[in-house]
């Protein structure tokens, strides 16, 4: 390619610009760290998913009776979800379901069991893969078969249902896919949430900039609050605590808010095969407990990257125990607000 004077100047200018790149070693270290961590904000989305499930179950029927929430699937059946297992997935903007939860509503309350996104699982028809890819693999395969948007999404959800049904040994009855970007609007919809920080902290990467002590976070701040992974004393451990703090804050706020805006925010971000109008009978069931399936050894395969081996036996017995033990505690959230780092 022969360049004229301006083109040479352009090339030089771009080269100058490129030379301003940050140091690769720094980024490499970040990458190595993040590959061993949960992706930012995963847990809180899990938390939000539970809250959404509860609110869907408890509130939507009262508010939108006769009006149908966004859904794909079987819109005309009234779904009874007591003693049914629902797969709740939180999807990021790259169609990874970084939140995967099996939720079971019983007369006693709601139990939600998470599957970590990095769990290596058998995806029927697609071989082994990470938990967060089951939905998208099924969806893409359906698209290639010529199915359109909603039908392909439904197929993706069904692939995920088969995947996690076989992983946990529990047949899955329904699904709900939630767009995780909804978190900020959810927090805004309840008028912000209260959290407490041990120390002031600032982090340009996540946009976090918080003072010490109790404070109310608006939606965008709440996102930064759970995304911050730099400048924390214990890195990921602190982030997990923050996610739990936000979950509790949301749950507390929900108990005392006008739920209408929240329901509005939820409705546009859920794709489900459930007819939420049928859930009114769940009225006052609010007890929520959460847990995570046991994971095996960390593996770092060249082909699939970092992940966890899963023991079907251990997962099955854990899930049976959690879903079976009904009203007993164990793995539930401890009450009371606490300051986090």
């Amino acid at each position: 390619m022969t360049l004229d004077k301006t083109e040479s100047l352009i090339r030089d200018a771009i080269t100058d610009q490129a030379a301003r790149a940050v140091d690769a070693d720094t980024v490499l270290r970040e990458l190595r760290k993040s590959s061993r961590r949960t992706r930012p904000a995963v847990l809180v989305f899990a938390a939000a998913a539970v809250v959404i499930a509860v609110v869907s179950a408890v509130v939507i029927p009262g508010l939108v009776r006769g009006e149908r929430p966004a859904q794909v699937g079987t819109p005309d059946t009234v779904t009874k979800i007591v003693d049914q297992t629902i797969l709740v997935m939180g999807m990021d903007r790259f169609a990874h379901t970084d939140v995967v939860m099996l939720v079971r509503l019983t007369a006693a309350g709601l139990t939600a069991i998470s599957v970590p996104r990095d769990a290596f699982v058998e995806i029927p028809g697609h071989g082994k893969g990470k938990a967060n890819s089951a939905y998208e693999r099924g969806r893409l395969a359906a698209e290639q078969r010529g199915l359109d948007g909603p039908a392909a999404m439904k197929a993706g959800a069904e692939t995920a249902m088969a995947t996690f049904g076989s992983l946990t040994g529990v047949p899955i009855d329904h699904y709900a896919v939630i767009d995780m970007s909804a978190i900020a609007s959810l927090v805004d919809a309840v008028g912000g949430v209260e959290v407490c920080l041990n120390a002031a902290t600032k982090d340009p990467t996540s946009g976090a900039n918080f003072t010490a002590g109790s404070q109310t976070l608006a939606g965008a701040q709440a996102l930064a609050f759970v995304r911050q992974r730099h400048h924390l004393p214990n890195g990921d451990l602190d982030r997990v605590k923050r996610q739990q703090a936000l979950f509790k804050a949301l749950a507390t706020k929900l108990g005392s808010s006008d739920l209408r805006p929240f329901v509005g925010a939820v409705r546009d971000h859920v794709v489900t095969d459930m007819d939420l109008v049928g859930l009114a009978e769940l009225g006052s069931k609010r007890a929520v407990r959460t847990g995570m399936v046991p994971v095996g050894a960390e593996v770092n395969s060249p082909s699939a990257g970092f992940g966890f081996e899963m023991s079907a036996e251990k997962v099955h017995s854990y899930v049976t125990e959690m879903f079976g033990s009904g009203e007993q505690g164990g793995g539930g959230d401890t009450p009371g607000p606490a300051c986090v780092d």
Binding site: I10, Q17, L28, L31, R39, K130, P302
Partner: protein
């Protein structure tokens, strides 16, 4: 098959420079590259099976940049203006050349995103129209039109700069 770690160790510096050239913002470039690399890692079995994994990752970076939030883009233009204003009067030939390059760098930062991406792929990555078309997901004709518009803008700016310099 190349492991992800080996790929990252080998290519990360180059990808960061590419992203910095695209975004005209080293920190935004870092965010984008980090985000893309994390995603690439989770799909590495598929990406590494491709003929040119680095092309694919470059494409992911370009797409990420093109779809980056509007809010961020506004910053580019601000920095471009401040760079323009920061340029002092020329005192000698090397300084003049430097100022000329700086002015060009600032003008490139004001180009619309797709035009800027096309220019960077052409003049920094030495890609052909067809290769650029693949990365940007458009036709080679569209690529030529992006580049010719961008060149038009940049040439006009360059002659303005020369005129201003001549009358200093």
């Amino acid at each position: 098959m190349l492991s992800f770690d080996a790929f990252a160790a080998d290519r990360l510096a180059r990808l960061l420079r590419f992203a910095t050239a695209l975004t005209c913002d080293p920190h935004l470039a870092q965010d984008i590259v980090q985000e893309v690399m994390i995603r690439a890692q989770s799909r590495w079995s598929r990406i590494s099976a491709l003929d040119a994994p680095d092309h694919y990752v470059k494409r992911m970076i370009t797409n990420e940049y093109l779809s980056w939030r509007r809010r961020r883009a506004a910053r580019d233009i601000v920095s471009a203006h401040s760079t323009l204003e920061a340029i002092g009067p020329p005192v000698g030939d090397p300084a003049h050349q430097h100022a000329e390059r700086e002015a060009m760098r600032a003008r490139i930062a004001t180009l619309p995103r797709k035009q800027r991406a096309a220019i960077v792929l052409r003049y920094y990555e030495d890609n052909t129209d067809d290769e650029i078309a693949k990365v940007l997901g458009c036709s080679a004709g569209t690529v030529r039109s992006h580049i010719s518009r961008a060149l038009g803008t940049l040439r006009a700016g360059a002659s303005d700069f020369a005129v201003t310099e001549a009358y200093r």
